[in-house]
């Protein structure tokens, strides 16, 4: 059964182990649950961007549009009296997905810069729209009165964040599993093909645009669900879920972790959040300086994010004495 294998052999034990880490964290850091919950939501958001960027090669500076749409969709639904969380999440994903499908048509062509700016523009327009639609979104003051019912009718969202933690954890695991199946499927292979050589893909008869649109929609849905998770666990939605900063942050998180490998999003989210937390613990005012320094050094000495760094170190270890970093730096 080992031959013939198209994909690299999945390393199930390690992956399962990886997803047990949050469970361990639950018991090890019981006082940091809100932080870890936020981290997991950010990770899910970053994984959704990875589908779009890492696998399909669509550079986006407006991914927060879908995160924010999901957050508002779930938030408004709960505010209007439908407080059941799971259906709220589905609704969040659906709303974001529909908008992803509609706007996805616009990002199919053009260079990196063009896509960057079109996604940014769409994101900013949504931001402005949410700001203006005071009656629906609460405008710049945020959405008040989000009442979420107990999860499965039994688990109240508590002040210690226990329910929120397991809820976000389940969301992350389930959607990560979906994303993982997706990238290892024929569709995922097709996306990698489109990303590396679009011309060849259309010469193979591939409906390139259709596939890109599909993955953009899926990415939007996942981002929407991540947004919905945030709205339901914090029971509050404010305009900054749609902001440019949030789009830039998730891009940063993904690039930090290493795009195009799913785990990059998660690793990036953990690294970013921990760095932020620790640095701002040391210096409330100037943590940005150190974060900036880390980013700069990382790019100078380790391309491909943290996972890229791990790869480089592994290669170097395998090669023994020869320096693995040297040829990379020469390039």
């Amino acid at each position: 059964m080992t031959q013939p294998m198209v994909s690299p052999k999945p390393w199930w034990p390690m992956e399962v182990g990886f997803f047990l880490i949050p469970v361990a964290a639950f018991f090890l850091f019981p006082l940091h649950l809100p932080l870890i919950t936020e981290m997991m939501i950010l990770a899910l958001f970053a994984v959704s961007l990875d589908l779009v960027l890492g696998y399909a090669g669509i550079v986006s500076l407006g991914h927060a549009a879908f995160f924010g749409l999901g957050a508002y969709a779930a938030g408004i639904l709960a505010q209007q009296g439908w407080g059941e969380p799971l259906s709220g999440l589905v609704f969040a994903g659906a709303v974001a997905g529909v908008v992803g499908l509609l706007t996805g048509v616009l990002v199919l062509r053009g260079s990196d810069l063009t896509r960057l700016m079109v996604t940014l523009g769409i994101g900013m327009m949504l931001f402005e729209a949410a700001n203006k639609m005071n009656w629906l979104t609460g405008g710049a003051d945020g959405l008040q009165g989000v009442m979420v019912e107990p999860l499965l009718g039994a688990f109240q969202f508590d002040i210690f964040g226990h329910t929120a933690f397991w809820y976000a954890y389940a969301g992350l695991v389930v959607l990560f599993y979906v994303a993982r199946r997706l990238v290892h499927s024929p569709f995922g292979l097709c996306l990698r093909g489109i990303k590396t050589n679009r011309l060849r893909m259309s010469a193979l008869g591939s409906r390139v645009n259709l596939h890109l649109l599909a993955v953009y929609t899926v990415g939007a849905m996942m981002a929407g669900i991540a947004g919905g998770l945030l709205a339901q666990t914090t029971q509050f939605v404010s305009l900054d879920v749609l902001s440019f900063e949030r789009s830039a942050e998730v891009l940063l998180v993904l690039v930090l972790g290493g795009p195009g490998r799913l785990y990059g999003g998660i690793i990036g989210a953990v690294a970013f959040t921990v760095m932020h937390e620790v640095l701002s613990g040391f210096t409330t005012h100037y943590w940005q300086f150190w974060l900036g320094l880390v980013l700069v050094l990382l790019v100078l000495f380790a391309r491909g994010g943290l996972l890229g760094l791990v790869d480089a170190l592994r290669k170097r270890a395998a090669r023994g004495t020869a320096s693995a970093a040297a040829p990379e730096r020469a390039a």
Partner: protein, 283 residues
């Protein structure tokens, strides 16, 4: 009506000076430099320090802002940017965002988080009436200065040897190298000039746009819009795009204040859907 137009033009011209360096960096070096605004911020703070703390006249601050920002540009280009020309766009984005963070925290540390203000010299403060429109001297000054700079840049680009080399390098870097053009020196000089212009723009902008440590990111979106809409293969494109954006933004806020900020994004997305390479690109 005329006032709105002149305001728009002045705003647009200022944007052009701020953004034109970025358009060259992106077009020539294919480098996504999100830290461009940081150089503008350098120029702004240079002006604030010299004018407020050292009592240097405003007009003398402008060249100093240019020179110091250019210097900062060339040092960073030679030491750091140069290593990343071949890196992926994403690495460049992460690197330059890192630089922005550093720049903002540094500015905060030395200059404080609050807004910095300057007092213009007396002769730039008044207004002149044309018909029933009132136009401030300072805006005329900006239009004039930036207009001259734009003409000068266009001249330098089309009529000088340096400009010819630059255009050759934009069209095809490999061929340019083959012709014996020292591309890396060309890059350094261009980067310095671009950063210097941003610095000058920052200095001129303190009065109109305000200055605090978030300056480095606050206007980045506008710069990117200018570059994306204008295209990257000439400076005429970004120039026209800046004017369009400036006038559109000001007029939008004047006539339909309710959706003012919506307009520029709508324009941009519209333009890019129809012309993905930019409104004024040749290809």
């Amino acid at each position: 009506m005329l006032t709105v137009l002149v305001d728009g033009v002045a705003y647009g011209m200022l944007l052009f000076i701020l953004a034109c360096g970025l358009s060259v960096t992106m077009g020539l070096m294919n480098f996504i430099n999100l830290a461009h605004g940081a150089f503008a911020m350098v120029g702004g703070y240079v002006t604030v320090i010299m004018l407020n703390d050292m009592g240097v006249p405003f007009l003398a601050c402008l060249p100093a802002a240019f020179v110091l920002a250019a210097l900062a540009g060339v040092v960073l280009e030679r030491t750091l940017y140069v290593r990343l020309y071949k890196a992926s766009h994403l690495d460049q984005v992460m690197f330059t965002i890192g630089l922005v963070f550093i720049a903002m925290a540094t500015a905060d540390y030395f200059m404080g988080a609050q807004q910095k203000l300057i007092q213009l010299p007396e002769f730039l403060r008044g207004r002149v009436g044309i018909g029933d429109a009132q136009i401030s001297y300072y805006r005329l000054f900006i239009v004039l200065l930036c207009g001259l700079l734009a003409v000068g840049l266009q001249f330098a680009l089309t009529r000088t040897r340096f400009g010819a080399q630059l255009r050759a390098a934009v069209d095809d870097g490999r061929v340019a190298r083959g012709l014996g053009i020292d591309v890396s020196r060309l890059f350094a000089v261009t980067f310095a000039v671009g950063s210097g212009l941003a610095g000058l723009g920052g200095a001129l902008g303190v009065e109109l746009l305000g200055l605090d440590p978030t300056f480095a990111v606050r206007f980045m979106i506008y710069f990117l819009i200018v570059v994306a809409v204008g295209g990257t293969d000439s400076i005429v494109g970004p120039f026209l795009a800046s004017l369009l954006l400036g006038i559109g933004d000001v007029a939008g806020k004047y006539y339909v204040p309710g959706i003012g900020s919506f307009i520029i994004y709508a324009i941009m997305v519209g333009v890019l859907i129809v012309r993905p390479q930019g409104l004024f690109a040749r290809r």
